[in-house]
Amino acid sequence: MKKPLLEVKNLSVSFKMNADKKTNNNLVINDLSIKAYPGEILTIVGSSGSGKSILAQAILGLLPNNAIVEGQIFYDGMLIDENLLSNLRGNEIAFIPQSISYLDPLVKVGKQVRNYSDKIETIKKQREIFKDYDLCENAEKLYPFQLSGGMARRVLISTAVMENPKIIIADEPTPGLDMESAKKTMDYFKNFAAEAKAVILITHDIELAINYSDKLAIFYAGHIVELTNANYFKKGAKYLRHPYTKALYESLPSNGFKPIEGLQPETSSNKGCAFKDRCKYKQEICDERVNVYEYDDEMVKCNYDFRG
């Protein structure tokens, strides 16, 4: 059996909020487990604010001080603690952050991508990568504010390409990129995974990602509501099991552009199903509890199975 390269086990993250002191923990990731296997692109999609970026930041230990993290994360079978993490981060695990404000505004981008190294071979490598990503020769001498949104995004991707990691965690790497650059990035991930490495891709651009992904984890309100094979999402709504996944499918511009009413619950809870308030199939039982069905590679957190 294949061993996961990265495993997240029963992870919960909550925040102490500045504003609402009376409800002092705001649960954003709720007892979540997920595995990333070598050779695969695991794509995480789902509701904005459902905890996708928080998961990435929790894996990398980048959460702010007011976060309360419970659960375990394993890298290649080893439990990650602070010591191990500081060795892994940037070496074995590369991170492409969502926000371009992760770039240092006061340092020229070429230097940032080279991680301040001035070695000739490092410079050469950086120039090759920039060329590969259509960043003009002049670009390395620019400061972040002089770049367009898409260029800054390509600089962030270049920082991950520079290193030689085993896992890439990419949080929304493609917004602002034109199709050509976006596809180039996805091709890079595909080739990267093919070397028995793992990619965890967080994205909203399902239409792009689906053609490159192996597995798909669908997030809603701090839970994974469905884990499925990427092929099923390509095939159509009737191959999907969870009502939220189906709604997500039907909301895409190419699949009807149909919104559903309502909002995701503000904090994650364990009482019943997370999606119950917006679900058109809701039954009484959904207020009380939610069943989890596991199949080989798939999982659905719903009292009913809607495939077919």
Binding site: G49, S101, M151, M179, S181
Partner: protein
């Protein structure tokens, strides 16, 4: 009402032209898609017509007249990166009310929760922040809205919700929208007309 960009040119010191002789006219109620590759000047153009950047050549007119330099700007820009468009030291309510009084109906339409108003920007997700950025840009005096990749960081359901509300608001207020996006499917779905920037940019 007509928004006209006439003969717009732009260059930074010591670099080549980014925009040259660009003409674009849009009327109230129109939803125009503006498409081009990354780095081709879409955002620069958006900043010029919304008054954030001074063009090197040309003029931006509403109904044939210059846009007044004081007061509320009738052309409002929503940035690609909401995390960069909010003051990190202000609570959301203060940022939102920069445009005047709180419009409760609008914040409901956009799915903003009341409790978020008392948070700081780093306590919200990218998608949650973007709703504030949209709400801040829309008032009764907003005649044209420039939406620069505003839903790229939102999930499909929220993206569909927000565009359906924006289209409704556009019809109700007779507001014109310029949509900058890389998502062709989205542009085809919501736009009444699509313009390729590289075809009107004479560099």
């Amino acid at each position: 009402m007509i928004l006209e960009a006439k003969n717009i040119g732009f260059r930074y010191k010591n670099t080549g032209y980014i925009l040259k002789n660009v003409d674009l006219t849009i009327s109230s109620g129109e939803i125009v898609g503006l498409i081009a590759k990354s780095g081709y000047g879409k955002t620069t153009f958006a900043k010029i017509i919304s008054g954030y950047l001074k063009q090197s050549w040309g003029e931006v007119l509403i109904n044939g007249k210059d846009i007044p330099q004081t007061g509320f700007h009738p052309v409002q820009l929503i940035y690609q990166h909401p995390e960069k468009s909010m003051n990190p030291r202000w609570k959301m309510k203060k940022s939102l009310c920069e445009n005047g009084d709180l419009d409760e109906e609008l914040i409901d339409t956009l799915g903003i929760r009341k409790t978020w108003l008392w948070r700081y920007p780093n306590e919200l997700s990218g998608g949650e922040l973007q709703r504030f950025a949209i709400a801040r840009a829309i008032t009764k005096d907003t005649k044209f809205l420039i939406a620069d990749e505003i839903t790229a960081m939102l999930d499909g359901v929220t993206q569909a919700q927000i565009w359906h509300s924006l289209i409704k608001i556009s019809q109700k207020n007779n507001m014109g929208i310029i949509v900058i996006t890389h998502n062709k499917e989205l542009a085809n779905k919501i736009c009444t007309r699509i313009v390729k920037l590289n075809e009107i940019n004479n560099i």
